[in-house]
Symmetry: C2
Subunit: 189 residues, 2 copies
Amino acid sequence: MTQVRINPQAFFPMPVALLGALVDGKVNFMTEAWICRANYEPPLIAVAVNKGHHTSQGILENREFSLCFPAQELLLKTDYCGLVSGKEVDKSQLFDVFYGDLRAAPLITDCQLNFACRLTHQVEYATNNLFIGEIVEVFALSDRMNGTRPDFEAMDLFLLTLPDNTYWGMGPAIGRAWMDGKAFAPVPE
Amino acid sequence: MTQVRINPQAFFPMPVALLGALVDGKVNFMTEAWICRANYEPPLIAVAVNKGHHTSQGILENREFSLCFPAQELLLKTDYCGLVSGKEVDKSQLFDVFYGDLRAAPLITDCQLNFACRLTHQVEYATNNLFIGEIVEVFALSDRMNGTRPDFEAMDLFLLTLPDNTYWGMGPAIGRAWMDGKAFAPVPE
């Protein structure tokens, strides 16, 4: 088996979320998978959004946004949010929405995990805005928790790969981080 | 079922990679899952690294880094890289390494997907550096491709969730992006 050079326009498995904002006062959601944590303490999150997207405008307007993680049962509706723009289609009634303290970060009652974020700054690139936000509040469905922690097995979240445009379920738990590597070699005290 | 407020130090499923750099001229890898695409064209990637990590120093030194995505068969070795610091343990011989054009971005022969990146800029937060790099070259194992595209089913990559410190396999393909949503509602031409 050999390593071959492929197109640098490359990707890896990404978590699927709905990115929410108010745009001209109206709730809007788009499908979003370019997400990562940017800082541990305070908890910051980074999200990259095409500059032309309606949601980009809303985030810059109100400096708040949400990331709502749907289960597989919401796959069709989630994908639909990536097919139509809030410029042309009113998506404000698609989901039952609630709010925490951030009044411009719409959260979704049927989503497993809901992050309400306050924009701290943004970096503008050629095609995308990279928004950095502080995670101010997180909500989860009460029966999808293991005590104080999200129960990711119960949450049934899903993933996206590009450029094959494929959604994937989560597989089984296969190991423990900061633990299983001790079986590879001794770890200094 | 109700939405309950949980700790805002919250996460979601994240792709597991080995982040590579040369530090003082020596190859080093750390386990990394805070990764996302930051811009479409040119292809930029964002990666958040604790400022104290040895790898942070190497990336700032050489302004190049790699992201190497292992299959599950490398789980123990991958986790080990997150247990020991290059400050104390020489990790330069753990993997068979190769290079593309970027001579300070060590790539792993046994990894499924290898990204070689040139640092374009960094943002310093309280605990982490957010490194933004251009994806200059990508390599993949020849028999894990579907034509010109990565075959993510064959690649057998894995994911991490926090704070439960759990690794997860990828589940089955469950849908098509920018397609399945058309079954939810008609999409304007």
